[in-house]
Amino acid sequence: MNKTREVLLDVRNLRVEFKGKSREPFVAVNDVSFQIYRGETFGLVGESGSGKTTIGRAIVRINETAGGEIYFKGRQINGRIPKELDYEITQKIQMIFQDPMASLNERAKVDYIVSEGLYNTKAYKDESERKAKVEAALLAVGLLPEFASRFPHEFSGGQRQRIGVARAFVMQPEFIIADEPISSLDVSIRAQVLNLLADLQRLHGLTYMFIAHDLSVVRFITDRVAVINKGQIVELAETEELFANPLHPYTRSLLSAVPVPDPIEEKKKQVIAYDPSQHNYTVQKPLWTEVTPGHFVLGNADEVAEYSISRA
C-alpha cells in the first residue's frame, strides 16, 4: 500500500458507551482503530446493531466518546475541543442519511433545507452569496435551481436523496459520511445516486466513509473496507483483497450470505454460519494483526498463524 498518502481521518482505540438503566454501560463500539486516506472511499460494513452508525455519529460529535481519540487532519476532534474547531469540523465533515423521506424537514422548503448548515455556521457574507451557494449545490447534484422554492414531498425518492446530498455538499466538506445512502431507494434509482456520489468525488476530491450492510454495493464503490461485528472491527483490507481472501470467519459468513443476481452462482452457494464460540480467547487475547500489507484481521496468535497459511 502507498504509505505516502495523506491520512485525513485517524480513529484510534475508539470506545463508545451507552448508559442504560443498569449499572453496566452498554459498549457499542469497543477499541476500534482505522485510518481514512484523502480521496478514498472507505466502507464500513456490518449487521444492524454492530455499531457502524455509532462510529459515524461519534466522528461528527453527535455521540460522546468514552475512550480513544479521533484525529481529523492531525487535530483531535473528540472530547472537549475549542469552539472554532467545532465550527470547522461541522463544516468539513458532513453526513448523508439513509431515508430521504425522514431526514428532510417536510415543512421546510428546499432552499431552507440546503441552507440550514450555512445559517448555523454563518458561512456566507450576504443573502445573495447564500442564494448563489444553494443554487450551485443544487446544480452540482443534478437538480434545477428553481426547485429551491419547493417542498420535499414534491420530489421523487431519487430527487429527495439528491437534496440530502446537496444539503451536505453546500458546506464544501472534505469528508462525507454516507450512512446507508441508497438502501431505502428503489433499484432503478440506486444507480443514479451512486453515480452522483462518484461524480462529486471525482470533481471535488471528496473523501467518503460509506456505511452499509449491502456488501455488493460496498464492493462496487469502496477502495477499502472494514468489517465490524458487535462493536469491533474484525477485518480491514483493500476491497478486492477482502472479497478475494476473506480471513476472519465472520467476514466469510457475511460474504457467503450476500445474494448475487446470478442464478447459477446462487444455486452453488453455501452459506457459512458464524459461531462466535469458535474463538478461544481465554488464554490468548485477540490482537489487531497485519497479515499481508494493508490486510488486517483480529485474532490471537494461533488464529493469525492459521489465517496466514490460508492466505498464502
Binding site: E47, S48, S156, G157, D186, V187, S188, I189, R190, A191, Q192, L194, N195, A198, D199, H213, D214, L215, S216, V217, R219, F220, I221, S253, L254, S256, A257, V258, P259, V260, P261, D262, P263, I264, E265, E266, K269, V271, Y274
Partner: protein, 346 residues
Amino acid sequence: MVQPILAAKDVTIKFSLRGRILTAIRGASLNLYAGQTLAIVGESGSGKSVFTKSFVGMLDSNGWVESGEIMFEGQDLAKFKHDKEWSAIRGCKIAMVFQDPMTALNPLRTIGLQIQEAVELHSDARGSVAKARTLELLRDVGIDDALHRYHQFPHEFSGGMRQRVVIAIAMACSPRILICDEPTTALDVTIQAQILGLIRTLQERYNLTVIYITHDLGVVANVATAVAVMYAGDIIEYGTSSEIFYNAQHPYTWALLSSLPQLGIKGQPLYSIKGTPPNLFAEIVGDAFAPRNPLALKIDFVERPPYFQVSPTHYARTWLLDPRAPKIDPPATIKHLREKFVGVRA
C-alpha cells in the same frame, strides 16, 4: 399441458383517488404452476403488490378489479365481493407474509395467541388441540423452546425470529400458495439467508407454491424458478430464472439488470434509467417504457406490443421481438450475460 394452480387473465385493477381514476394494473396475465417459486420484480409503484393482493382480496377499499379473471380451484376470485367469500381463500388457501414483521404482529398479545388465533379461525381445533398445533407450527418454523416462546411478546423476539412467527401464522392452515411480499427487506443478510432457507424447507415439506415480491435481484436469483418483470402495471417479461437473468429480451429488463452494482465495472458509471415511471392516472399509449427507453422504436409510441414467445416458458412484450423489427444490440452487460446463457443450455 399442466394446469396452472392459479391463472390470472387480463386483470385490470383501478383505484379511485380524490375523484380521479388510477389504473394500477393494466390487463396483466399470469399463470402460476403448483410447486413453482415465482418472483415478481419491478420498481415501486409498478403494481407488484397490488396485483398479488388481488389474489387474496386485500385491495384497499378504494380499489377494485375492473375486468379480467383470476381462476383458482374452479372459482373466479375477481368476482368475489364480500369478505365472507374471501374467508375460505384468504389466509387459508392463499396466505401472505409481509415485509415488516414488527408491524405485522400485535405488540400487545403473546405470539402464541396470535398464531393460535389463525389456527382457530381456519380450523375446528380449539383449546389444547389448537395449542398443540401452535407449538408444532413454532417448531416447524425453527423456533426452539416453543413452550417458553409461546408465552412471549413480539418485542422479546429479534427481527428474524419475528419474521418466523409471521411465517408460522401464514402456515397455520396449510395454504397451497404463500405470497411473500418483500419478506427479507427489513432483515440483515445472514438472517435473510436463514429466512429464505426456511421458506424453501417449508415449500418442500408441504408442497407449497410460493410467490416472492421483491426488488432484490440477488434474492430472486437465489429462490426463483420463474420470474415475472412488472412495469407500470403490466407484466412485460416472464420466463424461467435463467431465461430472465441470462437471456432477457425486454429493454426494461435490460435496464434493470444493467443498473445493478454487482454487474457494473468498478470506476465506471452505472447504467441508470432516465426519467420517471409513467403517470398511471393518464392513459398509456404504446409501450409504457418507451419514453425512458433510448432504444425505443417508433411503433413503441403508437401501439402496445403483444407478447412474443421466445421459448415455451419465456415471453416478452416488446416490439423488438417482432420479425420486422430492426436488429438492436442489447447493452454490453446483457451481451455478457447472454454468453453465460449459451453455457447454461450447452
